[in-house]
Amino acid sequence: MKIDIEDYYIRFGPMVHRRCLFLLKDEDRAYDAMQEVFIRLIRNKDRLTGKYPSSLLFRIATNVCLNILQSDKHLTEATDDILLSICSSEDIESRYIAQDLLNHIFINEKESTRTIAVMYYIDKMTLKKIASEIGLSVSGIKKRLSKLKENLSISKGIYLE
């Protein structure tokens, strides 16, 4: 499918940038990530048959940012904030749990599961909303999250609500 990348940038650029800034908390990295999002968009243009193009761009932006965070060797302000979002608490034990969750999400899970986990734990979206964005059923989303929790509790003895 032919797309005019300039039109897409004009229309969706600000949204993509805000998404990257929200996850990365750094202007330069967000700009870098935004460039990567539009490059990926061109490569994935065949996926642009969905109803809402903003949803695809949102997912690409989330994945690009997670890849960037994954490659961080040290905790940055961004990962710190993500940890706080997940555990909604500043006590040390919760943060270690959240850190493990984050590592697990980054390393062991599929890209789509990572996006679902971010949407649930960080964006605080409802299961119904996540399902509509991802294009899965609510039961499919529940299954993924349940599997994620199971994998975590088996490997780490971590229990999530």
Partner: protein, 284 residues
């Protein structure tokens, strides 16, 4: 949690006119009673305007072209680089000749490999610099259109140094000159506005009762610009369809909402399913 950066997907999609109808209506209802939400929308609109000042379209497009090229041709550039460095060991004179040539060769390679890569148009040139251009070439029907919300308006205000993109709820002044543009994946369309006096102005097409044949899948400016009068607000509508239609169908529903100030600002036109509509409200 650091609250400096926020992100609300539904609000973003609402601004993009890329939201399902129930969610869109929920936000519209909420806007009326929730000042914080209205402030947030205004903040997002301002952020959108600032965005293009900071990250201009042409600059961004050329940067991602270069970045994409470098990614795809990393091997080639390394190979050229290694030839250059081996020549350096032979003779300093060769270095002086080859390195500029390498730069030129690399630049030439970039131009050759990349010249037809993107489906770029002179959209930004049209929108940002040129109000009076009319393009008589109608694009042929070869593009696959997006499904769902696939038509939208863009409005620009003429400025002294550069033109400014206006968004839904943007503030304007009497006598501001604006340029209306449209993007449509559908074949036929109508652009009109309703102002706070309930007056309906048809902008495109002019002088006919049927919807205009649109240039599809590219942002297209109308062939004239428009000076705003002193009405407290004016809402611009784009209505599109794959089938030719009589504009009276649309104007009738426009008349219905023009009788109520709140409806004029917020309510969608009541149209059959085969129509797509989008609007931009400008406030004074």
């Amino acid at each position: 949690m650091n609250n400096k950066y926020k992100f609300d997907l539904d609000l973003e999609k609402y601004l993009l006119n890329d939201l399902d109808s129930p969610s869109k209506q929920r936000i519209k209802d909420e806007i009326v009673i929730n000042k914080e939400l209205r402030d947030e929308l205004e903040r997002l609109n301002k952020n959108n305007d600032d965005f293009f000042n900071r990250f201009p379209v042409n600059k961004f497009i050329s940067e991602i072209k270069e970045r994409s090229f470098l990614k795809e041709n990393k091997g080639k550039i390394d190979f050229i680089g290694s030839i250059s460095s081996s020549v350096k060991r032979i003779s300093g004179n060769y270095k002086k000749i080859l390195i500029p040539s390498f730069s030129m060769a690399a630049a030439l390679l970039i131009i050759i490999l990349f010249s037809n890569k993107f489906n770029g148009t002179n959209v930004s040139q049209n929108i940002y610099n040129n109000y009076s251009q009319s393009d008589s070439n109608i694009q042929t029907d070869k593009e696959i259109r997006l499904k769902g919300p696939d038509s939208f308006l863009q409005i620009y205000r003429k400025g002294l140094k550069r033109n400014e993109k206006l968004n839904n709820y943007s503030h304007v002044k009497e006598r501001d000159i604006i340029q209306i543009c449209y993007f449509s994946a559908r074949k036929y369309g109508l652009i009109f506005s309703i102002d706070s006096n309930g007056e309906i102005n048809i902008h495109f097409p002019d002088k006919q009762n049927e919807a205009a044949l649109l240039k599809r899948n590219k942002v297209t400016p109308l062939s004239f610009s428009y000076r705003l009068d002193n009405a407290p607000f004016e809402r611009f509508f784009l209505v599109t369809s794959d089938q030719k239609f009589n504009i009276d169908i649309v104007l009738k529903t426009a008349k219905a909402i023009s009788e109520n100030s709140r409806d004029m600002k917020e309510k969608d036109l009541e149209l059959p399913e085969e129509f797509n509509q989008s609007s931009i409200l400008l406030l004074q």
